[in-house]
Each structure stands twice: as C-alpha cells, then as structure tokens.
C-alpha cells in the first residue's frame, strides 16, 4: 500500500483539529455527551471518512455497496456527528440540537441517525454483529469491508471474546476491528481494574492479525487502515490504536475520571480558541 501523499496527511491533520473543535462545541450545548471518549477517536474517524478508507453514500446511507462501519463504543462517537453532517448525511443545523427535544442526535447515537448502522450504547455488541455481517457478505460473494470501532474497556465484556474466537476460526478477513486503546474506563485506568495487557498476544492466540499504531498520528492510522482493508489473508484484523482519552484537552488527558467529566462552557471557549 503506497503511503498517503503529504498533502492528504496535512489535510487530515487540519480536519482532525477542526473536528476536535466542532466536537467540543457540541459538548458545550450538550454537556450530557461523553467528551473524553469522543476525543480519543477523532483521528480514526477523520481518516476513515476523509482518508478514502470507507466507502459510503451520504444520500443513500444503506446502499448495498457501502462498507459497514459499526461503532461499538457508541457513547464515544459524538465526534462523528460533525463529520457526517459535513459529508451530507444530515443537515449541519442539527448539530446545534444534539440532545435537545425532538432531535435524532442523542447523547449516544443509534441507527435512527443516517450513517449509523446499529444500536449502540450497550457495550460489547459490535464484534459479534460484525461477525454476522462479515459472514453474510462472504457467503454472498460481496467485497465490502466491515469495520468496528471498539474501546479497550469493552474487552471486559465476555461477548466480545465469543466474537473474537468466532471471527478467527471462521477466517473473517473482511473484518477490521479498530481498538481505541485509550486505557481508561469510567472509574479508572484499565490496568488498575483488570490489566488487559498483553492485548496483542490475546488477539494473536485467537488467530487474528495484529497491528499497533499511535492512534493520533494520522499518517500511521491511514497507512494501517488502507493496508488492512485490502488484505484478504484468511485472518480478521485488529488495529490497536494507542490513544489518549480526552486528547487535546489537558485537564481531561491527565484525569482518570475524565470519562464522566463535563467541561464548563468557559473552558471550552478557551480550548477552542487555542485550537484556532
């Protein structure tokens, strides 16, 4: 897979800063949203949608030729709202109504939103549903890819391991599981709850291909996703994206309790000012 052009990389970096800013502005009007979880996944979303990785159809979101993207960590996908609006899945005006009466953009996105495939909010469902979709595409001889975004905390769910075992055994090489490895659950660092490491070895044992990158380095994210998407080698792939929960907001980045933290409007104004 050829490396992305310098121009593309520079665009993706700028887009990421812009999406981070837009996400913070959503959080300003909708403090119920999980801001720290949404910030760790910004570069992953940006590369998937602006980096030419995902195939999507904003005016026909369920077009059969789309790549399927399941967001298992639904609470941490507020940063996808400005991307979907920008690409035309829905009107940009809606972004101002997140969590307000009558909108379809809730604190946790569901399949009522154009661009979201499944029901989100309860953790550990994405990998299993992805297995079913991948199996169906495979049996029907279709070439679309299945992507799943999952948080590392979801690895505590037993259902996830049932799916990981299944995907490896059934050689579902059309699945790429992106692990937003931000290392923090709701109450603490994962390594202080039940240490998940070594994650790589766990996946390899279950017959997965493993790639580990810096999840905030768009060049690495792009190269990895572009490579994994096209590699049909009889193995499902996991991309372990090492990220920082609350990335871009210093008060969140250093707080083990950042998952449940809400930023004050004045803080947001200051951070947005710095990003600009």
């Amino acid at each position: 897979m050829p490396r992305a052009s310098k121009e593309l990389i520079s665009q993706l970096i700028k887009r990421s800063a812009w999406i981070r800013k837009e996400t913070l502005l959503i959080h300003k009007t909708a403090p119920e949203t999980r801001i720290a979880s949404s910030l760790s996944a910004v570069e992953i979303f940006v590369v998937l949608y602006y980096g030419g990785i995902l195939r999507f159809f904003p005016r026909d979101p369920l077009n059969i030729k789309r790549d399927r993207f399941l967001i298992s960590k639904g609470h941490g996908a507020i940063s996808l709202y400005p991307i979907l609006a920008d690409l035309g899945f829905f009107d940009k005006q809606e972004l101002q109504a997140v969590c307000k009466d009558g909108t379809f953009l809730g604190g946790i996105p569901d399949a009522v939103i154009p661009g979201f495939e499944t029901i989100n909010g309860s953790l550990g469902h994405g990998p299993g549903v992805a297995c079913g979709i991948a199996l169906a595409l495979n049996r029907k001889g279709r070439s679309e890819s299945v992507f799943v975004l999952m948080g590392d905390g979801e690895l505590y769910e037993g259902s996830v391991w049932e799916a990981i075992m299944f995907a490896g055994e059934h050689k579902l090489d059309n699945i790429t599981l992106i692990l937003d490895n931000n290392q923090i659950c709701m109450l603490d660092y994962c390594n202080k709850i039940l240490n998940l490491s070594p994650i790589e070895e766990k996946f390899r044992t279950f017959k997965w291909d493993v790639t580990t990158i810096d999840g905030h380095n768009v060049e690495q994210v792009h190269h990895a996703l572009a490579t994994l998407k096209n590699e049909r080698n009889g193995k499902p792939k996991v991309l372990i994206a090492n990220t920082i929960k609350g990335k871009g907001v210093k008060s969140l980045e250093t707080d083990a309790l950042c998952h449940i933290k809400t930023l004050k409007p004045s803080e947001i104004d200051m951070i947005v000012g710095e990003l600009e």
Binding site: D110, H125, A130, G132, I133, A136
Partner: protein, 320 residues
C-alpha cells in the same frame, strides 16, 4: 392421524431443511445443540449452517448481523439459555433493531417448562413466556403440537420479525387435524366449547387440559378449552368475544404465575374490558423446583396433576 406422536423441533427443523434447498437466504445457527433432524441439514448446507459453540450471546449477535444483510435466520438452543443467558443481546439487537429495520430472526428454544424435568432448575424454563412478552417487537410462539409447528414454517419466513419459538423437548401427540382452524394472526383456537368454565392453556399443558376436558364432556359437563399458541401478538378482541360467554376462566401454563405469562395476558384483557369474569391462574408458584422426578411427579408437587386440576374445577363448578 390424530394422536400421532412427534417431536416438535424435529418436525420444524425438517421443514426448514426442505426450504433451504430452494431458499438460498436461510441461515441456520445453533449453540452446540442438536436434533436427529439437524444432522442432514448440517451435512447438506455447511455454508449456511454454523454451530457457534456454547456461546448464546454470540449466537444472537451473529444472527443479527446475518439478518441485517437479508438472511432469514434460525437460531437454535436450549430454551432457558437461549432466552436468559443472552437476554440483553435479544433486547438490544433484536427488539430494538426490529423497530428500525426489517430483521427476520427465529429463536428456536427447546425445553419449554419442565421438558427437562430431571435436569433441575437451570434447565427448567418457567420465565420465558413472561420475559419474552415484555420485549416490544418480538413475537412469541408456544405450540402445543407439531402440526402447529409445521404450519408455522411458512409464517416464520413470511413475517420478517424477531420471534421466539418455545418448543417442548419431548415428543407430543398431534392435536390439530384441520390446519384451517389455526390462525397465527389471532393467536388461539377454541378446541372445545363449554358453558360456564373455560381453560386457556399453552404448550404442553394443552395436552393435559384436553384430557381433563374430555373426561368432563363424557360426564355431560361441557368445559371450554382454548389453546393459546401465539402469546404475542394476540387478538385480544377476538379472545374476549369468545371468553365473555364464560363466568370463569382458568389459565394453565408451565410457567410462573402472577407475572407476565399466559395468566398475565388473560388478566390484562379482563381488566381492559372491565370484566367481572372470574380468573383462576394455574401454574408455578414464585419459587424454583429443586425436586427430582418425572414431569408428572413435579406437576403433582405443584398441584398441576390431572386429578388435582379436575377436583379444583369441580369446586369451581359448584360455586358458579
């Protein structure tokens, strides 16, 4: 032939197996659970049969993914594990999804009630009617005989919704001879007409009710019998039209009473109609069964044996 015995799951699986030859959009999953009739299906369709292992949560989630891509999916396991180990997967991926998208997933649970009598309370299934009826967007099918199950095959393919099929684990006698009296839209069939007292039963208990009602009829005492096989949806108006001619209704089920089981279904209708009809609920008390013995022995402990039910009905008749 009336009275011919067959295992509901075998009849149903054989029917699905036949359909799989012509219908390429059927997928069959199981959680390491078999049936003599499943062997041919497994052998013939290795590309559309998968044993996910003893992993009910993944069974539901894989079924969801397949159904989202247009497959009609059958997911087969032991009833208490199929409904309760993965209840949250059923809620999130079947009940919630089905409100937004068309997904055809048929959960085939074998071992309704005390089918697995001597295996103890983990294998008994006394909660399923109640908990599955609590979920919006899921249909609940509880057949008393294998003719109903055979007739349900077409329905299961045509109605593209999640459904829970609670099948008995043991061979059961044929009850229905004329399939035209079966209506899955209505949900029940009146098997016997009575005058004052009517039993409403589901699944295995309909066989017991039938035997009791026949004895009363031989004594010229007409007791009504309604076999309820679709516990959701259920045509409440049609049911009330039929039930309102009785002064006393008895619900009979192999499930906990006082929750959302068959008794809850009938009680709701009576309350909505502001009805003065007396309702007697027969089923299991609010405790698990650790006693060991045959199904009939366990029924006797719960006062659900034929003799006890019959004498309770005689008392009701003397009161009404």
């Amino acid at each position: 032939m009336m009275g011919e015995k067959a295992t509901i799951r075998d009849v149903f699986i054989e029917g699905i197996y036949r359909r799989m030859h012509e219908d390429k959009d059927i997928f069959f999953l199981c959680a390491d659970f078999g049936s003599p009739k499943l062997d041919a299906l497994r052998e013939q369709f290795p590309d559309r049969f998968i044993n996910v292992g003893i992993a009910e949560q993944n069974l539901i989630n894989v079924a969801t993914g397949l159904a989202l891509e247009g497959y009609s999916v059958y997911a087969y396991a032991i009833a208490p594990f199929l409904t309760m180990r993965c209840y949250e997967q059923i809620r999130v991926n079947l009940a919630l999804h089905a409100q937004l998208k068309e997904i055809n997933i048929n959960l085939i649970g074998v071992g309704a009630g005390l089918s697995y009598d001597v295996s103890g309370p983990t294998h008994h299934c006394l909660e399923d009617i109640s908990i599955m009826r609590s979920l919006p967007n899921i249909e609940v099918f509880s057949p008393s005989d294998w003719i109903l199950a055979r007739e349900f095959i077409d329905y299961s393919l045509q109605e593209k919704k999640p459904k829970y099929l609670r099948f008995d684990g043991k061979p059961v006698e044929q009850i229905y001879t004329d399939p035209s009296i079966i209506s899955f839209k209505k949900g029940f069939t009146e098997l016997h007409r009575g005058d004052r007292v009517c039993i409403i039963s589901t699944g295995y208990m309909t066989h017991k009710a039938l035997s009791i009602v026949k004895k009363f009829h031989s004594e010229q005492i007409p007791i009504g019998l309604i076999d309820a096989y679709m516990l959701k949806p259920f045509d409440e108006k049609a049911f009330y039209r039929l039930a309102s001619k009785y002064s006393c209704l008895i619900t009979l089920e192999e499930g906990f009473t006082g929750k959302a089981g068959l008794d809850g279904l009938v009680a709701k209708i009576l309350v909505d109609q502001n009805s003065a009809i007396r309702l007697i609920r027969m089923g299991f008390d609010d405790k698990y069964v650790f006693d060991i013995g045959t199904r009939e022995y366990l029924h006797k402990l719960q006062k659900l044996d034929e003799a006890e039910i019959t004498s309770r009905i005689r008392v009701l008749l003397s009161e009404s």
